[in-house]
Amino acid sequence: MGKSRIRNNIRKLRFFHDEMTQQQLAEKVGVTRQTIIAMEQEKYSPSLELAFRIARVFDVPLEEVFSYDAEAESK
């Protein structure tokens, strides 16, 4: 399994939220740091519930955190 088709801006959003660490974000959304790393590397697509929790932490709509790469689908 390669990279997923779900793209995300988690790393960028963390940076713009007082350089929040992966551990801090992990604790806020209730997952392990390894899961945040896997998501940032786009190796793991989170469940809808976790995606909403991450968006709530950054106080942005879901689409600002996650997007679907339709081009990757056609490849």
């Binding site: 399994m1 209730g30 997952v31 392990t32 390894q34 899961t35 790393i37 896997a38 590397q41 190796k43 793991y44 989170p46 469940s47 976790l50």
Partner: protein, 150 residues
């Protein structure tokens, strides 16, 4: 290495040791001419009891050793997080799927030996062998998924 990975590694080492012990005992029995139902079923019992007890104690020991190492490293109260998040659950499910797949093949092959005219002892010996091998392959696939990310 996360707590889950440590647990899987310990389980993997346990089952490799159990497999080694099992194979040595079976070969000893075959060479010594004591490959009979009493000895094979006793070995079955030993392997199953060993697998359960060792896995429980190894998990507890991993927890304690991890806490001690973390306390020495950070010089603070250890805070071992063994929460299982959704990714851990997915990895566990995929590992279980692999274990079941290998077990199914193993059960089929064991039954096949019986169907082809081998004595039931061969079937029972192979059943436990494939059971342990399936667990080992399942643990390897879990570790691989953790190393790769998912």
């Amino acid at each position: 290495m996360s707590f889950q990975e440590k647990n899987i590694t310990v389980s993997l080492v346990n089952f490799i040791l159990i497999l080694g012990f099992y194979l040595i005992r079976v070969f000893q029995m075959i060479q010594g001419g004591s490959f009979n139902s009493t000895n094979v079923f006793r070995l079955w019992g030993i392997v199953i009891v060993f697998a359960i007890i060792v896995t429980i104690f190894a998990t507890i020991l991993t927890h304690i050793v991890s806490s001690i190492i973390q306390a020495i490293k950070t010089k603070e109260e250890p805070d071992i997080k063994d929460i299982q998040d959704e990714r851990d659950k997915f990895i566990d499910l995929r590992g279980t799927k692999v274990t079941y797949f290998v077990s199914s093949i193993g059960i089929f092959l064991s039954m096949l030996t019986f169907a082809l005219g081998q004595p039931p002892l061969v079937m029972f010996t192979l059943l436990i062998f494939f059971g342990v091998v399936a667990q080992i392959i399942g643990d390897i696939s879990r570790l691989y998924l953790y190393r790769r990310g998912f």
